[in-house]
Symmetry: C2
Subunit: 217 residues, 2 copies
Amino acid sequence: MFGGVIPNRPFRPQPATARDKLLEAAVRLVRAQGFSATSVDQLCLEAGVTKGAFFHHFPSKEQLGVAAAQYWSRSTGEFFASAPFHHEADPAVRVLGYIDLRIALISGPAESFSCVAGTMLQESFATSAAIRDACAASIGANARALEDDIAAALAARGLVEPRAVSLARHVQTVIQGAFVTAKALPPEAAAPAARESLGHLRRYVELLLSEEPSLAA
Amino acid sequence: MFGGVIPNRPFRPQPATARDKLLEAAVRLVRAQGFSATSVDQLCLEAGVTKGAFFHHFPSKEQLGVAAAQYWSRSTGEFFASAPFHHEADPAVRVLGYIDLRIALISGPAESFSCVAGTMLQESFATSAAIRDACAASIGANARALEDDIAAALAARGLVEPRAVSLARHVQTVIQGAFVTAKALPPEAAAPAARESLGHLRRYVELLLSEEPSLAA
DNA sequence: CCAAACATACCGACCGGTCGGTATGCGTCA
DNA sequence: TGACGCATACCGACCGGTCGGTATGTTTGG
């Protein structure tokens, strides 16, 4: 890969402070068992810090959840922002390049490639507005990062339908869905199935962007 | 709608026994706040039964989760099995009819149209094999119910790619993803966004099944 | 020397689960 | 017919343990 990162979780800094260690632990545990099933004690154990350190850095478990979503959003956002597909001249190629990169990042068991924001969103959207908003911002940022390229690609084909914002959201929807249904399969089948769904998404985008303008009318 | 059912949650029987009341309460609460964030006491309160009744019918909270997934799978399965789109002659129309029905069922806030199996799967796949398997069976049954129609529609167009099993799974993936990303939006925007993503799925299936055989080669 | 960065000990509320007991319905046999 | 025996359905107080959170040190870097 590029930038010397670890495929599934880019931009993984050596966690130095107790705060960083807790955020890293939160990413691992939330992916594996969700947020509410993860206790503060468990987070401290996984991070190798004590409870005092936890509540020194975070006023509550909920605030750690918010911070974890932001940490996740920032590190993944930086990773995708620095990906080489942005240098492609054709916006359609950039869009497909993003999807190909997402496919390439999927490997191993489900908990190693699933999305922290999506997982937390699902269980916290009704119980914690702060966590919901942080997760929504993370997924929304991913969609927005795609929107301009999609808009340019659609415009280049003379298409007014679908709207770029809608298609960008759809891309994130399929990615999130792939993470969910992957968890229904045995570990060794999870990644291939998720990649296959993203393959369908890729084909859809390809069909849209290779469509003859006459067919779109 | 058909059969005199309630749109979002078909085949809702008048819950008579404490067991049924608990399963109905589980559907509501799990949709809203997930499984592990829902306590046994809360389930009893919502169902209007006592804790004694709970553990009379279920040996553990985990087993209630399994039963809730099966209850969900059975009631939704019966609903989709009895839907009128099955009477269409063209298998492609049946497939699109299924997607259209799924779109029609999406309304109101996210917790009123989201999937119990998908929600529980996400948080329990690593902590409870029994719940994971029950949820996986529910989603798998939905995919399998589509597979024959998809296979027939693809065969009628002379397509060997994609495989029917893969496309059937993809349909479920997009549906699950739509439920997740809907939760990132304010309640009034959730349903329209979810419908829009299923609209993209519908367009993809349409593009596939209306594709000229020459293009597929 | 003092704040920031931790560690330790502890709290009350709530968790899933247990247990002794009651109400009710049904088959059975004198 | 009716009273007995027994299973099912349900009740609610209670248990040990874990939960998120707090109070109070102790260490450490500037």
